[in-house]
């Protein structure tokens, strides 16, 4: 990740990283619109107040996203169960750009089918570029548990893709 400590233009930084930040936010939100709100709040906080702090800017911005997502979930938890169910069912927006490679297509379709606790580990590792130790800190897990969820996710992806190939 480029150095966010330098006097860099936020537009350039966001153009490089906005897509993956949004995918990360999407793991902890109920819709694309909520993910946009979370990224907005988290990125503004990061850019104004945190990017000059010592440490890995990548981990800082992910922490900011998770905090904003949890705040949003708490604020909206009063909504009825029915509304949540409807939102989950009607959310059909693809997370990834279309791919010509059938294997990548299958992966893009399989990832959202993973259990949420496995999926968030995969997304934080691949697109968050975090280590299992950092993932553990984010999710309040031990690094071993994070690594274990990663292995389960890989196994599940393998099965899902094999099932799709045979369908």
């Amino acid at each position: 990740m480029p150095d966010a400590h330098a006097d860099q233009d936020w537009r350039a930084w966001f153009a490089d990283h906005g897509a993956r930040l949004r995918l990360i936010a999407r793991q902890w939100t109920r819709s694309d619109a909520d993910a946009d709100d979370v990224v907005q709040e988290a990125f503004v906080r990061f850019w104004k107040h945190q990017r000059h702090l010592p440490g890995d800017p990548n981990a800082l911005v992910v922490t900011s996203i998770r905090r904003a997502a949890l705040d949003l979930l708490r604020r909206t938890d009063r909504r009825g169960v029915r509304e949540k169910a409807v939102a989950a069912e009607t959310e059909t927006v693809a997370w990834f750009e279309p791919e010509a490679d059938p294997r990548l297509q299958a992966l893009a379709q399989a990832l959202p089918l993973l259990p949420a606790e496995q999926r968030e580990v995969v997304v934080l590792k691949v697109w968050g570029a975090l280590t299992f130790e950092q993932i553990g800190e984010q999710l309040q897990l031990s690094p071993n548990t994070a690594a274990s969820r990663w292995r389960y996710a890989m196994e599940a992806l393998r099965k899902l893709i094999t099932a799709r190939v045979h369908d």
Partner: protein
């Protein structure tokens, strides 16, 4: 972690997450871009009466015979910024129908300069227009 896991990780990394829409970038711009600086000698900031007053004053200024040593402004630049479109969340109207608000923002800047003193007269005019696009629901 197995070699197969590494293959999967590499393949996953090849997937390209969808980029955020222009509405998110526009929202960030409102919070992160510095406020527009006040450039030049005179800035008229309004879309209505102040602009008209500035134009009238400038017209009178040009119409008067310049005294010796008085500034003689010439038009040097007139520009309009690209229109920034922001598509907002759908809203429900009083009649029960739905519509999506679309906000357009742009700026007009006109500059005159006195070549002798290099002083500038600048008229900066931000504009905003919001339109409702009806949505059909089934």
């Amino acid at each position: 972690m197995t070699d197969s896991d590494h293959d999967f990780e590499r393949a996953l990394a090849d997937l390209r997450p969808r980029p955020p829409g222009p509405a998110l970038t526009a929202a960030l711009a409102r919070e992160l871009d510095p406020p527009v600086s006040r450039r030049g000698v005179v800035i008229a900031w309004t879309a209505g009466l102040t602009t008209a007053a500035a134009a009238l004053a400038f017209g009178l200024f040009l119409g008067a015979a310049p005294e010796e040593g008085a500034p003689a402004y010439q038009l040097v630049r007139a520009e309009q910024s690209p229109v920034e479109i922001e598509v907002l969340r759908p809203v429900r109207l009083e009649d029960g129908s739905f519509a999506r608000p679309v906000r357009a923002r742009w700026e007009n800047t006109t500059q005159w300069e006195d070549p002798r003193t290099r002083t500038r007269f600048i008229n900066y005019r931000p504009s905003e227009q919001t339109t409702l696009l009806p949505l059909e629901t089934y």
